[in-house]
Structure formats: structure tokens, C-alpha cells
Amino acid sequence: MNTDPSKSISEKESYKRKKRFFTALDLMALPGIIYLIINNYIPMGGLFIAFKKIDFAKGIFASDWVGFQNFKFLFRSSDAAVILRNTLLYNLAFIVLNCVCGIAVGLFLNEIRNKLAKKFYQTAILLPQLISIIIVAYITYGFLASETGFVNNHILKAMGKAAVNFYSKPAYWPFFLIFIHIWKTIGYNSIIYFSSIISVDKSLYESAEIDGANRFQQITKITLPLIKPIAITLTLMACGRIFYSDFGLFYQVPMNSGPLYATTNTIDTYVYRALLQLNDIGMSSAAGFFQSIVGFCLIMIVNGIVRKISPENALY
């Protein structure tokens, strides 16, 4: 019970100030929210297209319903199992490696004392992120091609070994693709981890040092537990996209080479190749719908598991 009038006024004022503050924040978030609504929510209305046979003369809304007909093609291929396996395994590998490598590089960056060197390394590892995947594909081609490739003509030849036709040997490609993915994304991933590492309270390290903890102990006992939440958040969000694949990486980098499909065909590339000729809007919507539903279920499941193990780190 508060009877002091002066206090109640100051409370009101602080509430007012708070309100004004929130309005400013809301305004700042507005472009992002509008973007989210236009780009992510409004298109959801189009999901019904997945259940229609589109007839342009009738228009999208008046076209006939066909039930799950449009989904059939995803499972009709004799390679359906291979495609699902590739999509899932590559994404699992990416999730684990992104997390491990991102944290590792973040920690290394944090240990560099020379400011100039730190800036240099940070920029250098971020650069691949900015290179177009088409260029990456041709850099790879420059290394691996048969006629003019660097590896075949300058390394294997010099070693006296026979040339390898990399673009028709699927066995090599899981390694190439994972390597290229990590090389390309590590800069961006490590920056997120790096920024949360430097926001750790310095006094914790100081007291640990006084208690006699060495550098390694400081990392395992202080840094890692403190960046666990962000690692979990990023992993959770990646799980939601486990049925999507980086189209450029899987389509462009192997130069769309048929013999490599066993290890490079994913849902996105399959859909793209299959519908390139057919151009069926209903079928491509069906593929997107399927990917989203599986992603949604996975994120619910993983989040449920996280909530069981460490509730404070769950997304919701």
C-alpha cells in the first residue's frame, strides 16, 4: 500500500518514460517486423496451392483441388531414400561442425592479443562468406577439373599418380562439400560465438586466475558454460531447416554432374531439376510445404528435448 504522493508521481513518470522508450524500440523493430510479415507470414497463405492443379485460365483460386497428388513426386523416385539421406546427413554434419568449428575459431580469436592481427584474421575468415557460390564452384572446378584442373595436372602428375576424374567419382564429394561449406560459413558462425565470448564478464576470469585456474580450465569452466545458451539457440534454429539444403552448394559446386548424384542430390536440387521442365507451381509448393512441416516438427521435438534437459535454454 503506497500513500506517499511523491513516490506515486515518480513511479508514473518512470512508467511514462518506459512507455516512450518502448515506442522508440518498437519503431526501430518495425522494418524488421514488416519484413517478417510480408516475407514470411503472407506467403503462408499460398500453401493451399500445394493441393491444387493450377489452371491459369481459371485462376489460382478456382483451380481444381487434387488432394495429395502434388506430393507424390517427392517419393516416386527410386532415389527418394538416397535424397532424404543426403539432405539429413549433410545437415547433421553441418550443424555439428558449424557449432564445433565456430566455437573453436571464436575461442582462438579471443586468445589473439595483437589487435591488428585479430582484425586481419577476422576479415580473412569472413571473406569466403561474401564470395558468390558460382565463383566458389569455379574455384573448385579450377582445382578438380580433368583437362585443366590444378590437382590433376600439377599435384597428381608431379607425384606420378594417375589423374582422377573427380566429377564422376561420388565417393570424394561428401568431403569436398563439407569442407567448402565450413570454409565458406566459418567466418560468420565464429563471429556470433566470438561476440558472445567477449561479452563474458571479465571479473570471472580474474577471480579464476586468482584461484589458480589455467587458461584451458578458464575456457572449459567459464567460457563454454556461458556460451552454451547461444550454441543451443543456433542449433535449434538450424534443426528447423534440416530438410532444406544450401542449393548453391549442392547444385553449382558439383557442376550439376550426373554421376555425383549419389552423394550430392538433396531435396532442393531434386525438386529444381525435376520441375525445371515441368514448371508446375503446385508441385514445387508441395515440396516447400513438406520441408516446412518436417522442419516444424523437428524444431518442436528438439525444443521439447532441450526443455526436459535444461529448461532455461529452450526457445519457448
Partner: protein, 518 residues
């Protein structure tokens, strides 16, 4: 903490997606001038009917399209038409076209081109309007211009859906060889006389002995470079086996021997297997360009850069002149096979009227103007005289003083898609009698027995996508010979059957039987 992380991640995502948005946003204004310029014209006279046409630019520079559009309109206005022509980059064309039709935008006429904007795709989703009712009344000259056989091939169930381009439908398969090397080895005479697979091998043997650094042949790179196994040699070219794909762009969905009535799987025929084995023999001998499966360079580019000695291609009658200019060096082109005028070929390029068009009669009237008025056709192909081209003394065209291929503001030198190929003037370097020669061939060419058959794959789309995947996986590698061909062909067929080839072939056979009236 959690909130902060989330907001950081969201902000990051937003920055990335904004960056991704920048590209298409920047490209949009380029299309605007054409629209705004054309919109000004009809304000003067109210009775003009607006017709909008969408075209692929086929990689040509059409920066001055607004100006050309205005010049075309000066003529079109006399016929009560106000035409607006919009060019779209060829890679974005199909996408843009489908969006415009789906979105119900103002669109009357559009170009039909292979790929996702093909006749099969557009007729399957009912984008094409039936123009038969308007041809007699609004465009009798257009109707009379094009051969009846071609109109028949563009008519499904009594509905005429396409105005095919009036150009050379007759093509042949050619072997294009580097003339400099032939001259150096004194082989030109022998090369011009080739009549069988073994004759080609004999040439390759000699050239390869003199130039082991060269690949003898590249295959499969661009859409235009054929692999020899697509040409179906018999032992000699004269004994060629011919297939008709029955309206499909590739063979994977069952084809037919020319002149028979039973749908077969080409990949199980002995001719095809033999051909692939021959390719493997070439590959093992070191004749085939090793990156044939992955390269995106065309045969022309590779030959120009001295990487290969020869390539196979599908082309019209003046192949040697055309390829000499494309390769930038003299070539010898020898015809190795005839291609019958199939339904797929007739429906490959043309103009369709949108099923969403509000005045299809005016659209057809405009097409008649485009196909019969030489001024309109030449404006669309070459731009404005004096600015984009000049006429030489012999009647051929070339770039004006100071203008080159690189800085010419308008050049749509894709003669075969402009509409009426025979109305176009001749560009410098081509034979001056080219059009007359071609016309004579075109008017009498024999049309395939199945040209009027266009098959509807809507009942088996899942199988079509599945077999397409299998086809992409094996076809190039086998036809280039870069593997153990016999074993791969077996696997290829096994997977085709597992992916529903039999269902597709049965559906096709059923429709073919109905077509043949059985």
C-alpha cells in the same frame, strides 16, 4: 540474455536477407521505360486497342527497346493497335511469364520457347488461348502465310494454341571441324567425304597423332553441342535410324521409330547401345574432351579457344557460314544426319495468346502485322536504321560507323524467333540468297507423321519427374562414354523402370493409339 541473443540472430538474418533482396530490386527499374513510353501513345486517340507482348531477349542487348517500340507503334497505330513490347532476360523469362499470367497482369501475347515456357508446359496449365475463332476474321493473311501442316501441329483437340515462327523448320546434324588443322594435314577432302562412323575415326586418328594436346571432340556442354550418340548413326550415315520423341524434349519418356506405331524405350535399343559403345571407344582412345560431362562451354567456344578439333551440332542449312562466324575461325561443316520436321520442332518457338487476354482478336491482329509487315519485322530484329544498323550497297546490313556488337543499343539478331524469318533483311556475312534458299526448303519439307500428336503428361507427372532425375543422373555420362557403358546402361534402364517409365510409356501409347484412330 536469451532475448539478446535472439535479437542479435534476428538482426543478422535480416541483414543477410536485405542483402539478398538488393539484386532483384536494382534490376526492376530497367524494365520500366518500355512501359511508360508506350503508355503515352494511346492518350491521343481513344479507339486504339492496347496489346502487350512479352519476349525473351535471348541474351541480346535491348536497351533502346522503348525507342524501337515507339517506331513500331507508328505503324501499328494505323491498324488501330497500340503495342507494348517488354523484353525479359532469357534466364528470367519463364519465371516472369508464369508470374504475370498467374498474377492476372495485363498480358496478351508472349513468346513460347523451350524449357519452362515451352508449349507442353504452357498448354498443360492452360495458359494458351484458343485463337482458331479469330484467325479467319482478324488475321486471314497470317493464316494463309503458314503451312497448313504447321497449323495442324499447333492444334490440340480442335483448339489452335500457337502461331509457330515461320522460319526454317528443317535442320540437320553436322560435324563441325577446325579447317586450319585439316589444311595443315591436307585432310579437307577426306573430311568432306566422310560417310560413316569409321570415316570420322580415321580422321581423328590422323589429327590426334599430329596434335595429341587437342581433344578431338567435345560433347554435351551447351544445349547446342550434341553427343554423337544423339545422332543415331547406322554404320553409315545413310542408314541412320530415326526416332520421334512424340513431343518430348528428350528421349527418356519413350519414343518411336519413325514410321511405326509402337512406343519404345530408346535406351534399350541395340542402335543406341552400339553408339554409346563407340563413344566409349573414342573416350578410351583419348579423343573426347575429358570435362565434357561438366563443362558449360559450348562446342563453338571450345573450338575457338583451341581446346578441341571438332564438335557435333544441330543447325540449319547455312551451318558452315554460321559456325565460322561463331567460332571466329574457318571451319568445315559436314552433314551427318537429317532430322525430320517433328511436332516438337514445330512447337519449339512461336507466339501464344494468353488465356487471360482481354482482347485476343486484337492480339491475333497484331501477330498478323508482325508476320506480314516487313517494316515491323525488321524494326523488331534490327532496331532503327541509321542508329542501330545501316544498309550496305548490296542490300545487306551492318553496324553504323562507330557502333559495334558491344555498344549497339538495340540488336535482336535472333532471326528465327522474330516471327517471319523471310521478311528480314540479311546481316553482313550471310549469303544474300539465304532467305530464298531456306524458304524453298521449308515449304516443301516432309513433316513427321506424328507432328500433330502432342502428348499430355498430366496423369503421370510424378513419374515424369522421377524419370527425369534418373535421366539426368546417367545420360550425359553414358553418352560421353566416360564410364563402363554396358554396365551403366543396364543400371540406367533398371532405375528408369523403377521410377515409372512403364507407366509413362503406357500412357503415351494409349494417347498415340487414340491419335492414330485405333
Amino acid at each position: 540474455m536469451k532475448k539478446r541473443i535472439l535479437s542479435a540472430v534476428l538482426a543478422g538474418i535480416m541483414t543477410l536477407s536485405l542483402a539478398a533482396c538488393a539484386a532483384p530490386g536494382a534490376a526492376a527499374p530497367a524494365a520500366a521505360p518500355a512501359g511508360s513510353d508506350a503508355a503515352e501513345a494511346p492518350a491521343a486517340s481513344g479507339e486504339l486497342v492496347h496489346v502487350k507482348q512479352l519476349m525473351s531477349n535471348f541474351g541480346n542487348n535491348t536497351d533502346d527497346a522503348a525507342e524501337v517500340n515507339a517506331a513500331i507503334n507508328e505503324i501499328a497505330n494505323q491498324y488501330g493497335l497500340d503495342v507494348e513490347i517488354e523484353f525479359v532476360s532469357s534466364d528470367a523469362y519463364a519465371q516472369q511469364l508464369n508470374l504475370m499470367i498467374a498474377g492476372g497482369e495485363d498480358l496478351d501475347v508472349f513468346m513460347v520457347t523451350p524449357g519452362a515456357s515451352s508449349f507442353a508446359t504452357l498448354s498443360a496449365n492452360n495458359s494458351l488461348a484458343d485463337i482458331a475463332p479469330y484467325l479467319d476474321t482478324a488475321a486471314p493473311d497470317l493464316k494463309a502465310l503458314i503451312r497448313q501442316e504447321y497449323w495442324d501441329a499447333c492444334t490440340l483437340d480442335g483448339r489452335t494454341l500457337l502461331v509457330t515462327t515461320w522460319d526454317d523448320k528443317v535442320t540437320g546434324n553436322w560435324l563441325v571441324m577446325d579447317k586450319t588443322i585439316l589444311d595443315e594435314l591436307g585432310l579437307e577432302e577426306q573430311a568432306r567425304a566422310i560417310a560413316s562412323y569409321d570415316d570420322i575415326t580415321a580422321i581423328y586418328e590422323k589429327v590426334y597423332a599430329a596434335h595429341p594436346e587437342l581433344s578431338m571432340v567435345a560433347a554435351g556442354g551447351s544445349s547446342n553441342a550434341l553427343t554423337p550418340s544423339e545422332i543415331f548413326f547406322g554404320d553409315t550415315f545413310a542408314e541412320n535410324t530415326l526416332y520421334d520423341t512424340l513431343g518430348d524434349q528428350a528421349y527418356q519418356m519413350g519414343a518411336i521409330y519413325e514410321g511405326t506405331e509402337e512406343v519404345i524405350n530408346v535406351f534399350e535399343t541395340p542402335e543406341w547401345k552400339k553408339n554409346c559403345e563407340r563413344m566409349q571407344a573414342w573416350y578410351d582412345a583419348g579423343y573426347v574432351y575429358k570435362d565434357s560431362v561438366t563443362t558449360t562451354d559450348s562446342g563453338e567456344t571450345l573450338l575457338k579457344n583451341g581446346a578441341i578439333f571438332s564438335f557435333f551440332t544441330n543447325a540449319e542449312m547455312n551451318c558452315e557460314t554460321a559456325k565460322t562466324s561463331q567460332c571466329g575461325k574457318p571451319v568445315v561443316a559436314v552433314k551427318v544426319g537429317e532430322v525430320p520436321v517433328s511436332g516438337g520442332r514445330i512447337r519449339q518457338f512461336g507466339y501464344g495468346v494468353s488465356s487471360t487476354s482481354k482482347h485476343p482478336d486484337a492480339a491475333v491482329k497484331w501477330l498478323q502485322l508482325l508476320y506480314t509487315n516487313a517494316d515491323v519485322a525488321n524494326l523488331l530484329a534490327y532496331g532503327i536504321e541509321g542508329k542501330h544498323y545501316v544498309t550496305n550497297e548490296d542490300g545487306s546490313l551492318s553496324y553504323p560507323e562507330g557502333v559495334t556488337m558491344d555498344n549497339c543499343g538495340y540488336q535482336y539478331h535472333v532471326a528465327f524467333v522474330v516471327g517471319n524469318y523471310y521478311l528480314l533483311k540479311i546481316w553482313e556475312g550471310d549469303s544474300l540468297t539465304l532467305r530464298e534458299d531456306a524458304k524453298a526448303v521449308n515449304e516443301t519439307a516432309e513433316v513427321s507423321k506424328y507432328a500433330n500428336f502432342s502428348w499430355d503428361n498430366s496423369a503421370v507427372t510424378a513419374e515424369v519427374t522421377a524419370t527425369t532425375n534418373v535421366y539426368n543422373k546417367y545420360y550425359k555420362n553414358i553418352t560421353v562414354g566416360a564410364c563402363d557403358v554396358d554396365a551403366e546402361i543396364e543400371k540406367f534402364n533398371e532405375e528408369l523402370h523403377a521410377s515409372g517409365l512403364d507407366e509413362i510409356m503406357a500412357a503415351k501409347q494409349e494417347q498415340l493409339n487414340a491419335f492414330l484412330g485405333k
